[in-house]
Amino acid sequence: MKKIKTIKTIKINPDKCTGCRACEMACSAFHAQPKYNIVNPARSRIRVFRDEGNDIYVPILAGEYTETECNARYRMIINGKEYGECSFCRSSCPSRDLFKEPDSGVALKCDACGEPMPEGGPMCVQWCATEALTYGPERTEEVEVVEEEEEEEVEEL
């Protein structure tokens, strides 16, 4: 059986970001064990790239871990200022400490606050006051719905 599934994503609008880093605070608290036990933006799976002098504020969600250093060789020029290839990168990798647990070095990745998602959406979105982060439908996909049937069977048993 096939079904149309809506894929929702966190959308980032850097123009609306005020640089407050509430998203970092909230993410680190939400993913703490026990939940909310600590605050530590260095453990966050989102970070706000901030360059005040150039008026650039870009929230970046942690992506996949890459095992080897990437071979990116590029410069990005924004408002006449150059940024290196790592500036807006969302991977954790061996060559920098971003998106890793500061003590263990374990790589961090955004899970959109996992399953079940908190009521009201991912925490970073809930804490964003200016809609620089929003959560909504991105695209639709055709998916096989086998799991649901299996779950029902389990319930019957």
């Binding site: 005020t18 909310y36 605050v39 901030r50 002098g53 150039n54 006051a129």
Partner: protein
């Protein structure tokens, strides 16, 4: 386990080049919370009154508030405490931005600097790694430029940097310390410069523990949503284009001329156009949903951001318009000059020049146009060149150094510090008390919970009071209900109102909450909706702050307990200053602040307030007052020194 705080201070001696991580006594948190409270305790214990501000023995303390770095929105203040060369008293200085939360993530509640470096240095703090690094290559650089250069040098764009500009390096008394959109005013930049400390950079990756985490997070998220939606919170000047309030009511030039009816639609349209032509964005301090800071790019100037009345001070001092302030702020913010004191110093100098007290000999090549004059004097002051070397000491000292009748032109200082340029008709009793007795040294840092003006009708007052959740008790509601004329306030009410107003600031400055969500923001009205989490009034008030402190720290605290801590901190700050010589004779608002004065009435009012506060007739806390607050070590010291009778 320490909750909400790290339990450690970082002690750095720049003379010795030593760095020490010192565990703090949790008892002090219970007594003083943090921020300015615990800083006052350190200044009392470790800086004897004979220590000159420019002595290596003076301390420069960067404190976080107790609630900074927790989920509580708008808890982000960095409190800078030291002694001022301008007043010889404790500097009250608080900045927004990101610095103090980052200090805590690096593992420190405070950074305490003593000594003097042999040459210009900066400090790099990355968790337990602390380095004192050479900064001679940063000499003369602007404060925000310095931050950027240090981030590049350290290859750490997440480092938060607090820096001085050339004004601080040259020990200009009106020099600031700047960090991101935050600015520590009332002179601490001069002490940082005296210590030859160009900047502190900090980046931390440690945990801040929360005592009752789920509850605090849940309530913080609700607060963040309500604060965000409430138009009565934050800095309305960031959004509201109607600025008749300052332009019509505040004094222009050297705090002289009130231009009632100046503001009109045409000016508003012109100012709005200038703003939006140059506005890049509105930005926020750490973990705050408000966007109080307007980021401005002005041709030929480095990008800067401003908040509140700092938008007006330069052009009003110069009888100009907004474009003038934008042009000048792009210069002065990099130099690290206080936007409140500096325009008054310059307007004062221009008046002296026009009066023939300062001449072309004092100011060779002094331009004839006002823009040129401001820029000329800014250069002289920042580099302490010629007349600038005198003006750099602020209006009070400059007037006395210049002499020849210049003293008469110093008409807007209290305790030797430039005050807001406000000249009114009739005396508003609580305002007399607040300006006279505040050791925050600025009315904006003292007023704020009780409205500035009565509402015209009983119905409106009743409506206001109905939703007024922030009022500590019914007594304050009664004062407001019965208040009809601004100048008619009973002494009893004036004392209680002044006390409540400053108490809220002492709370904010110990826990790190922003005044625009708290102590400063109640005066412009509560908002309907007592059923909301905030109720009427500011986001934070005496009824909800104790609970937030309990959730964050695990301390058991109620309203009475919080009020007592604030009173303890307030009396300790006063004790520090009393020990340095401050007395009743210094508690004098500017003579022309109000046109109509009544010496006898005012002095009786001051007598009553001293009694209310538990101070003797010279403004000194009595033994009874001090002992009740657990400050018997202060009363003992006062008796030993003959400040209090034995």
């Amino acid at each position: 386990m320490r909750y909400a705080e790290t339990g450690y201070n970082l002690e750095i001696d720049l003379s010795k080049g030593s760095v020490e991580k010192v565990e703090t006594d949790p008892k002090l948190t219970e007594l003083h919370l943090g921020g300015q409270g615990t800083a006052a305790k350190i200044l009392w214990d470790r800086v004897p009154p004979e220590v000159e501000p420019f002595s290596p023995d003076n301390l420069l303390i960067f404190s976080s508030g107790l609630l900074d770095a927790t989920p509580i929105p708008g808890a982000n203040r960095t409190i800078v405490s030291t002694f001022s060369p301008q007043t010889n008293l404790q500097i009250h200085s608080v900045m927004g931005g990101f610095f103090a939360p980052e200090m805590k993530y690096a593992g420190y509640d405070k950074i305490v600097i003593r000594g003097k470096a042999p040459d210009l240095v900066y400090i790099w703090i990355n968790n337990d790694k602390v380095e004192i690094r050479e900064a001679t290559h940063l000499r003369g650089k602007g404060s925000h430029e310095t931050a950027e250069l240090i981030q590049q040098e350290l290859k750490q764009d997440k480092a938060q940097v607090a820096a001085i500009g050339p004004a601080g390096e040259n020990r200009v008394y009106v020099a600031t310390i700047d960090s991101s959109c935050g600015c520590a005013s009332r002179g601490p930049g001069s002490i940082m410069g005296d210590k030859r400390l160009k900047a502190i950079a900090v980046y931390g990756t440690k945990d801040i523990y929360i005592a009752r985490p789920a509850e605090l997070f849940e309530i913080s998220l609700r607060l963040r949503k309500e604060i965000s939606e409430n138009p009565n919170l934050g800095d309305w000047m960031a959004y509201d284009e109607n600025d008749a309030f300052h332009h019509d009511n505040f004094a222009w030039g050297n705090a002289r001329v009130r231009r009632k009816g100046y503001w009109n639609k045409e000016i508003q349209e012109r100012f709005t156009k200038i703003k939006y032509e140059h506005l890049d964005r509105q930005r926020s301090c750490y973990n705050c949903p408000k966007t109080c800071h307007n980021v401005i790019s002005y041709p030929g100037r480095r990008r800067f951001s401003y908040k509140c009345y700092a938008k007006d001070t330069y052009h009003m001092a110069a009888f100009q318009e907004l474009d003038f302030s934008y042009d000048i702020l792009g210069v002065t913010q990099e130099y690290g000059l206080d936007s409140y004191s500096t325009p008054q110093v310059i307007a004062f100098a221009i008046e002296l020049y026009e009066a023939g007290i300062l001449t072309d000999q004092d100011m060779p090549g002094f331009p004839s146009d006002v823009r040129g004059r401001f820029l000329y004097l800014i250069e002289k002051i920042v580099h302490r060149e010629g007349i600038g070397d005198i003006l750099a000491n602020g209006v009070y000292w400059a007037a006395r150094q210049i002499g020849k009748g210049a003293e008469k032109y110093d008409h807007n200082t209290t305790k030797k510090l430039e005050q807001l340029p406000i000249k009114l008709g009739k005396l508003n009793p609580p305002y007399f008390l607040m300006i006279a007795t505040s050791e925050k040294m600025a009315i904006t840092q003292t007023e704020g919970s009780f409205p500035q003006d009565p509402l015209p009708t009983r119905e409106e007052r009743e409506k206001f009071v109905r939703d007024w959740v922030a009022a500590p008790n019914d007594k304050f509601k009664q004062y407001f209900l019965e208040w009809e004329k601004r100048e008619v306030v009973s002494n009893e009410a004036a004392c209680a109102i002044s006390d409540w107003n400053e108490t809220m600031h002492y709370i904010d400055d110990s826990v790190g909450l922003c005044g625009f969500l708290s102590s400063f923001r109640g005066q412009f009205g509560g908002r309907p909706g007592a059923d909301s989490l905030l109720g009427g009034g500011p986001a934070y008030h005496i009824h909800n702050i104790p609970h937030l402190i309990s959730l964050a720290t695990g301390m058991e605290l109620d309203e009475a307990g919080l009020w007592e801590i604030a009173r303890r901190n307030r009396n300790l700050v006063r004790a520090v200053n009393i020990r340095r010589g401050m007395r009743r004779k210094d508690e004098v608002p500017p003579a022309d602040h109000w046109a109509v004065r009544d010496h006898e009435f005012e002095q009786k009012l001051l007598d009553d307030y001293y009694k209310f506060k538990g101070w003797n007739n010279d403004g000194i806390p009595t033994r009874e007052t001090l002992d009740k607050l657990g400050l018997s070590y202060v009363s003992d010291d006062f008796e030993r020194r003959g400040i209090l009778p034995t």
